[in-house]
Each structure stands twice: as structure tokens, then as C-alpha cells.
């Protein structure tokens, strides 16, 4: 199947990154690629719900933060547990939390869902900020692995996640996601349980986002409420897939990359306070006005159109 191509290009990308890491001695760009990859993982998680089910979540930072704090808390309490194990545990915890919270949230759809997920983010952040047992606003320092181990780990996970999502959406379950999004009535008629389908997309997506959070804790070596549970984290997780192209794996991948690069560039080039919001907001408006589905599907459509016009002209 097509998947073989994805695996091969994933392996090639990983090897290229390893070479790059060796050559540049884990410099700024290697670091930045790892940072982008974190948001690529989280964005793929968001895209399962936002793109394939069509419910926009404004609160994926919650799962990101749960993943990060599952790594951070045992370190903060000086428990000696393998960090890699904790990263996987964090993904699991995020999934369990999503399973619980999906009960009230998935009863509504559209904008109440959006407001509800935003509210969830606010609730969890407030709880962490006022609870001394969770280290409140101080945050936790984590003595993490060396760069030469962490960065390839993040890249490896990112590639694996992208391939996994691409595999998943062509499975039975992934096709159900699309059916629930596009033709809910027909989906119910052939016996698909809409609630369960939505919940499984939510939980799998939350696990991926939690994984990104755990890796973020390893990457930064520091977790605190504003970095992990902050609104900005939610916004950048959301914006990537949305701008790149919701409901497409490559689109989300490109989108996350574009958004993170753009906001970092805006932050360092336009040093005006709030300049990066202007860039991101304007980009969002322009993309939405030009192509409702995002950059990648828009470009694919455009290429097809040009090809068709060209063929028509040749036929004449």
C-alpha cells in the first residue's frame, strides 16, 4: 500500500536529521526542528478530532500539560522512575482524562464544544496555579537526557506519529471518523455509534497530544503552568492543522511547521509587542478567505485546476 512510501520517507528524514545533528553539533537549527516536531505531534493529535471529526477544540493544552506534568511531578517529588516510561505514562494519562471528560463535552457540538474545551483549559490551569502540591506557579526543573538523545527521540516519535495517523485514517476506524463528519445521518443508519466514534478520536488525539507534552518536558527540562497549560499552547496546537489543512495528515504537518516558524520569526524580527499575533491572525484570515480547507488542500486543488486547464488546451 501507499504506507510503504511513508515509512521509507520517514526513515530517510530521520537519517537526514541524524546526519544534520552530527554535522551541526546540536546547534540552534537542530533544536528548532525538534521544537517544531513537538507541535507537529500535538497538531496531529488535534487534527484527529478537529479535522477528521470536525469538532474544534480550544483546550488541547490540557492534554499537553498532563503529559508534561506526568513527567515533571515524579521528578519534583524525587521519585526515581525512568523518564521514557513517564513519557508513555503521560500519554496514557492524557488519554484516560480525555475519556472521562469526553462524557460531558461530546454531548454538545460546534461552538459549545469549543467554549467547553476552552473552559476546561482555564479550570485545569487555575487548579494547577493555586495548588502547592502541584508546585503552583514555580514549575519543576527536570534533569533530562543529553541533547544528542532527546532530539532524535522527539524526531523519531514525530515521524512515527505521522505514519501512525496516516495508517489510522485509512483503517476502518478512520473511515468512520470521516463518515461521522460528513454524513452523520447516513453513518448512524449503517450502525456507526456516533458518540463512540467521536470519543475514540478524542482519546487517541489526546494521547498523541499528551505524548507531545511529555516530550516537551524532556526537551525543555522545565515545566510550569503557563508553558504547559497556557492559552498560547492551545492556540498554536490548533492553528497549525487549521492553517495547513484540516483533515489531512500532510496539511497538518506543513501547517504546524509554518505556524511555529512564522511566529518565531515574527517574534525575533518584528520586535514590537504583539507583532506575532498580527502575523498569525492575518495569515489565518487570508488562508480562510482564499481556501476554506487550509493551505495544503487549497494548493492541491489549484494544481489540479491548472493541470486540467492545460490538458483542455492541449486537447483543443
Amino acid at each position: 500500500m501507499n504506507l510503504k512510501k511513508w515509512v521509507v520517507s520517514g526513515v530517510i528524514a530521520f537519517i537526514l536529521y541524524m546526519l544534520f545533528l552530527r554535522l551541526t553539533d546540536a546547534g540552534f537549527i537542530a533544536n528548532f526542528i525538534a521544537y517544531i516536531s513537538l507541535f507537529v505531534i500535538a497538531g496531529q493529535g488535534w487534527n484527529l478530532l478537529g479535522g477528521y471529526i470536525g469538532e474544534i477544540s480550544f483546550g488541547h493544552a490540557v492534554f499537553f500539560g498532563i503529559g508534561a506534568y506526568t513527567v515533571g511531578l515524579p521528578v519534583g517529588y524525587k521519585l526515581d522512575i525512568n523518564l521514557l516510561l513517564l513519557v508513555l505514562l503521560g500519554a496514557l494519562m492524557a488519554g484516560i482524562f480525555a475519556l472521562i471528560i469526553s462524557y460531558p463535552l461530546l454531548r454538545v457540538q460546534g461552538f459549545p464544544f469549543l467554549v467547553g474545551t476552552y473552559g476546561l483549559g482555564v479550570v485545569i490551569r487555575s487548579i494547577v496555579v493555586v495548588t502547592p502540591a502541584l508546585f503552583a506557579t514555580r514549575g519543576i526543573f527536570i534533569s533530562t537526557y543529553s541533547k544528542n538523545f532527546t532530539y532524535p527521540l522527539i524526531i523519531g516519535f514525530a515521524i512515527a506519529v505521522v505514519i501512525f495517523v496516516q495508517w489510522l485514517v485509512n483503517q476502518d476506524l478512520g473511515l468512520r471518523f470521516k463518515a461521522v463528519r460528513d454524513v452523520p445521518t447516513a453513518a448512524r443508519m449503517i450502525g456507526i455509534n456516533i458518540y463512540k466514534t467521536k470519543a475514540s478520536a478524542f482519546v487517541i488525539g489526546a494521547m498523541l497530544t499528551g505524548l507531545a507534552g511529555g516530550l516537551f518536558a524532556l526537551y525543555g527540562g522545565f515545566v510550569n503552568p503557563s508553558a504547559c497549560f497556557g492559552d498560547n499552547t492551545s492556540i498554536f496546537i490548533l492553528l497549525g492543522p487549521y492553517i495547513g489543512g484540516i483533515g489531512s495528515v500532510l496539511g497538518a504537518l506543513f501547517g504546524s511547521t509554518i505556524v511555529i516558524i512564522l511566529q518565531e520569526v515574527a517574534r525575533s524580527v518584528i520586535t514590537v509587542n504583539g507583532g506575532h499575533y498580527l502575523m498569525v491572525g492575518a495569515l489565518l484570515v487570508v488562508v480562510m478567505m482564499l481556501s476554506k480547507e487550509g493551505i495544503y488542500p487549497g494548493i492541491v486543488k489549484l494544481v489540479k485546476k491548472i493541470k486540467n486547464a492545460y490538458q483542455k488546451r492541449q486537447g483543443e
Partner: protein, 293 residues
């Protein structure tokens, strides 16, 4: 003595809630009837608050007088936002992702507004220090800030005017026709796009009033915009998706929950309690507390 504190808190909560109720009204007007989802009215409100602040500090004009200028300006801003940015999405059906697209466009615009505020006024907290900001009316041992009374009055006035317009005038009748059945309304010669644009303009004008009152009771910073947007939407959800009266009650309730939480518990948790309440509401009454008729 304790009772006084409690009643005082309740009064304050209702006063603050009137701002949320105003914003909720702005959302409910365009969402409940015309199915337009906007995530930028909070930012519009804060922009209006900043403009009021700017006019007050530069010319010394009272924020209420500057409303006379700002309301028409924002009506036209809203009108043209609808015409320019929202029109492509008006023919989409809900299952085609109409709300998602509208949310994203308006949120992007809101982000641009916020960024412009950041660039012009920076992120420092500002306040409009009018002389009557701290003025109060005293009833025995209760003190009620004048601004709260004014905002409650404005809320009632706007609600009454809106209901009158919706019931009696031609505009209101065509508006309701559009909300019931878009296609048939268009067949009878109603300009659907124009009705949408006008109501978006009206809702932006309501947001201006909300923003001005917010600036008179709170300190303003650009990032507050999104927060206000969400609180307005919470009011809409609690109020039952689009019934104007329900939204007003729900907005007051939101303010009440916040002030009671600050009174009895930790002020930092006031939003958390609000949203926990919202999640509970979604479990038990997904349709909202005050359902539309």
C-alpha cells in the same frame, strides 16, 4: 454585618454581569437568529474601550459622550466585516463546517485587533479615570457604584429597544423571516446579505457599549478580549442558544458566580468555578438553563 457583605457581593456581581450580558446579547442576536458565529466581539469591545480611553486622555471627552461617535463607527465596522469577510461563508450549511469557518475568520480578525492594540497601547493595564468611577449611591449601609446602575440601565434599554425593533419594524420582520427560513425570505425579496450585515453591525454597536462599561469598572489590557468573548459565549450557552431574555439572565448569573466565588473562596478560582459550572450544565441540561421558546 455579614449579610451586608454578601448583599454587596451579589450587587457587584450583577453589575459586572451586565457587561457579560451585553456581550451575550450581541452574540445571541447574530447567532441565535442568523446562525453567524463570531469570536471577535470581545476584541471589538476592548478596542472600543481603548478608543474611549484614548479620547478621554487626549481631549478629555467623557466616555459616554464618545459613545455617540463610537457607536456609528462600530456599526459600520461590523457592517463591512460582515460584507467583506463573512459573506463567502453565509451560503455554507452547518454540516459543511459553516461555524468552524466563521469562528476561524472572526478569531483571526480578533487576533489582528488585539495585536494592533498591543502595538499602539502596549500591554500595560489602563483605566479610564473619570470622576464618577468610584462614586456610589448609599442605601442605609449598602453602597452601589453608579457605573453598575448605569450599565444595568443600558442593558435594559438595549434589550427593550431590540425587542421593539424585532417585533414592530420592517427591519425586524425581515430579520425574523431570515432567521426562520433563509430561502423563502430571499424569494419574497428580502436582501438576506444586507440583513445579516445590518445585524452584525448592530451587534458590534452593542459590543461597544459593553466595552465602555467594562473599561469603567475594570482595568483593560488587550489580552482581555478573548476572555470577554468566551464569557459572552458562556452566557449564550447557559441562556439557551439565542433567546435574548435568557442570555441577559445568564450573563447576570455569570457575573454573580464570579463575584460569589471571590467572596467565599479564592478569587483566582473564579473562572475555574464558572467553567466547572458550565461543564456540569452540559452534562445535565445541554440545551441551556433558560431554553428558547
Amino acid at each position: 454585618m455579614e449579610y451586608t457583605g454578601l448583599i454587596q457581593t451579589i450587587l457587584g456581581g450583577v453589575g459586572v454581569g451586565s457587561v457579560y450580558a451585553l456581550l451575550g446579547l450581541a452574540f445571541a442576536l447574530v447567532f441565535g437568529k442568523l446562525k453567524i458565529c463570531s469570536y471577535m466581539h470581545g476584541d471589538l469591545a476592548i478596542l472600543a474601550a481603548y478608543l474611549g480611553y484614548f479620547i478621554f486622555t487626549s481631549i478629555g471627552l467623557d466616555p459616554f459622550l464618545s459613545l455617540i461617535v463610537l457607536i456609528p463607527i462600530f456599526f459600520f465596522i461590523g457592517y463591512y466585516i460582515q460584507v467583506i469577510f463573512m459573506k463567502p461563508f453565509m451560503s455554507m450549511e452547518i454540516w459543511q463546517g459553516r461555524y468552524q469557518a466563521q469562528i476561524m475568520v472572526t478569531w483571526g480578525l480578533g487576533m489582528c485587533i488585539m495585536a494592533i492594540e498591543f502595538i499602539i497601547w502596549s500591554g500595560t493595564y489602563r483605566m479610564i479615570s473619570v470622576p464618577y468611577r468610584n462614586a456610589t449611591l448609599n442605601f442605609s449601609n449598602l453602597t452601589v457604584p453608579v457605573v453598575h446602575l448605569l450599565s444595568l440601565g443600558a442593558l435594559l434599554l438595549i434589550y427593550l429597544v431590540l425587542s421593539l425593533v424585532l417585533q414592530k419594524t420592517d427591519l425586524g420582520i425581515s430579520f425574523r423571516a431570515c432567521s426562520v427560513d433563509r430561502i423563502t425570505a430571499m424569494l419574497t425579496g428580502i436582501n438576506y446579505q444586507k440583513i445579516c450585515a445590518i445585524s452584525f453591525g448592530i451587534s458590534s454597536a452593542i459590543a461597544v457599549v459593553a466595552g465602555t462599561f467594562y473599561a469603567l469598572t475594570h482595568q483593560i489590557t488587550p489580552a482581555v478580549g478573548l476572555e470577554l468573548t468566551f464569557k459572552g459565549w458562556v452566557a449564550v450557552i447557559i441562556g439557551g442558544m439565542g433567546s435574548l431574555g435568557g442570555v441577559i439572565l445568564a450573563g447576570l448569573l455569570v457575573g454573580l458566580v464570579e463575584s460569589l466565588t471571590s467572596f467565599f473562596w479564592i478569587p483566582a478560582l473564579k473562572e475555574a468555578v464558572l467553567f466547572v459550572g458550565l461543564l456540569l450544565l452540559l452534562i445535565f441540561r445541554p440545551g441551556g438553563l433558560f431554553k428558547a421558546k
